[in-house]
Symmetry: C2
DNA sequence: CGATAACATGTTATCCGTAACAAGGCATGG
DNA sequence: CCATGCCTTGTTACGGATAACATGTTATCG
């Protein structure tokens, strides 16, 4: 007990005993056991960030924002990958409940509110990141995907493109859906017909991008522009286009969501909707921490952060037929 | 106790009771408490990976290898950033001991063996990754940096370069030192004088790269080739060169350690020594797991993995003066 | 049929830190 | 001088899961 008091600077301790305890700690190399402490305190000072793939620089950057904000408040963060699978996500969440994390930042693998409900049932505060979940009251931080897609599509339309292939993510993921919605709105507003055959759904991965690009190239009239719903899709699609002998932007234009940090540094190429990944992570963590400490934060919050539309070399006018 | 037996499938349980317990678990939404379990068992099923910066794709890829290997055996992994600081590293290690992790994979921030000794004192198995630590018996997995640097330098020499700037990492980090050593060996072997003024040490970051490139450009006779000790340095240096109006490889050549995944996919550019990051993570984790389970693994192991020297567009012959 | 083993379930103690309470020592003040 | 209260230290109980042991039940076998 006395040792506990010395370590936590709680209660009153005479200077002499404190020094004696500190000396003993140093001599024995004693390190307190967090497990026992957390067990007793019913708090682990640990939070979790669940994303689909920590390998994606968007999530890596976001993770860094999360971690920096957490560390500032003395919290630790566990990172989990779901690989965009609802099953894996469910397993991860169970594991997190078992660990009794104090809170979770979730980039949901699908729009279902069930995972959020599961955590709430276990009294674990959640903040949903980057994506929406079906109507359910929960704190969340994201960008406006619909608007971003709308603006990016407008940009392509203004360049004269009329056949724009939309290479989107899994239809279960809100960002994929919203980006398609923004794309549709821009086309409709411009008085153009939305061609269902030009809208593709696939994995948020280079492979997904390749497959969708291949399918798009197989259309009777080749699209003049490609809109990738994320960086990985863009990469895969770009490779596919190159292999098909097409040059970007001379033959086809490409635009995408999400920056590709290193790429940008070497040679800025892709026209993108750049989402503030680091800030998203930071903000989400701050929201979560507020829930954890300041109990009276009231209703749930929905933070929509601004994005940047950055025009680079990958987009250009429609080539003369 | 009966519940414990059901959950862990240990001991004998009648079918009827098991079903009753399982029903109750489902109904109550009971989730066992890992903290209590770990406390009692003196094992957390948790390992840690300590790297300098999880934002660097080399470490991200490595982390993925670590995690995949760990998950396969039912272990969880905590990721820690040290930002290349020995102080932060020390803090992280204390935190890991407090958490009673079962083992640690360490990319040491410096060559000192103290951190390794610290973990050993607390009976926590360690595997050192990517870098060497001063003579101390410890399992480790890495590539041969000296050899990689030697070969890369040879390549530049064979292209006719004689003034090659070496932009290395912090002098406290073994990879930075070894890469300089390989560079020196290649020059010496070629009968060339090693010019101290062409060897730079800086942070393994874009900023570090910029600064070193700037210093190198300030030399009375400009180097015709730049050897960056890692991907981040290469990025920074490349930007600096471009801003100085130099083209790569027409005006100067550049070569570096470590791939830049997305970059490569879009447009392979840098000539690199590509280390098998994913495999390094995997192997290190396997080694660690072997230590944890199979107690009699004997002496410590030192795994040196092969690298690939990939020649791309960033290197070329010396421009005509 | 009684002894022994095999199976099924319950009890107790333990891991380690901390909340809550208890107790001894000392000073202040009426 | 004793009551009150602060300061300091110690004691007990608890968080939740599990090892080790104990108990009760049923099957097996000479």
């Amino acid at each position: 007990m006395t040792v506990s008091r010395v370590i936590n600077r709680s209660g009153a301790i005479s200077r002499e005993t404190r020094e004696r305890v500190e000396a003993a700690i140093a001599e024995l190399g004693y390190v307190p056991n967090t497990l026992a402490r957390s067990l007793r305190m019913k708090a682990t000072q640990t939070l979790a960030l669940v994303v689909s793939d920590i390998t994606n620089p968007f999530f890596t950057t976001l993770a860094r924002g999360v971690q920096d904000a957490a560390r500032a408040e003395g919290f630790n963060v566990i990172f989990c990958n779901t690989d965009e699978s609802e099953t894996e996500q469910a397993e991860q969440l169970v594991a997190l409940v078992q660990k009794r994390v104090d809170g979770v930042l979730l980039v949901p693998a699908a729009s279902s509110a069930e995972p959020v409900a599961y955590l709430k049932r276990h009294k674990i505060p959640v903040v949903v990141l980057d994506r929406r979940v079906e109507d359910c009251l929960v704190d969340s931080v994201r960008c406006d995907s619909e608007l971003g897609a709308y603006q990016l599509t407008r940009l392509l339309l203004d360049l004269g493109h009329r056949r724009i292939a939309m290479l989107s993510g899994p239809a279960t993921v809100s960002t994929a859906v919203d980006r398609v919605a923004g794309y549709r709105r821009a086309l409709t507003e411009a008085g153009l017909e939305v061609v269902a055959g030009l809208i593709f759904h696939g994995a948020y991965s280079p492979i997904g991008g390749r497959q969708m690009a291949q399918a798009a190239l197989a259309c009777t009239r080749r699209p003049t522009a490609f809109f990738a719903a994320n960086n990985f899709i863009a990469i895969g699609a770009y490779q596919q286009l190159r292999e098909a002998g097409l040059r970007v932007p001379e033959d086809v234009s490409m635009a995408t969501f999400d920056e590709m940090p290193l790429t940008t540094l070497i040679e800025p190429f892709f026209t993108v909707v750049a989402q503030p990944a680091y800030e998203m992570g930071q903000r989400a963590m701050q929201l979560l921490l507020a829930r954890l400490t300041n109990t009276a934060v009231g209703e749930c919050q929905e933070v929509i952060l601004p994005f940047d539309l950055i025009v680079r070399r990958s987009t250009g006018p429609v080539p003369a037929a």
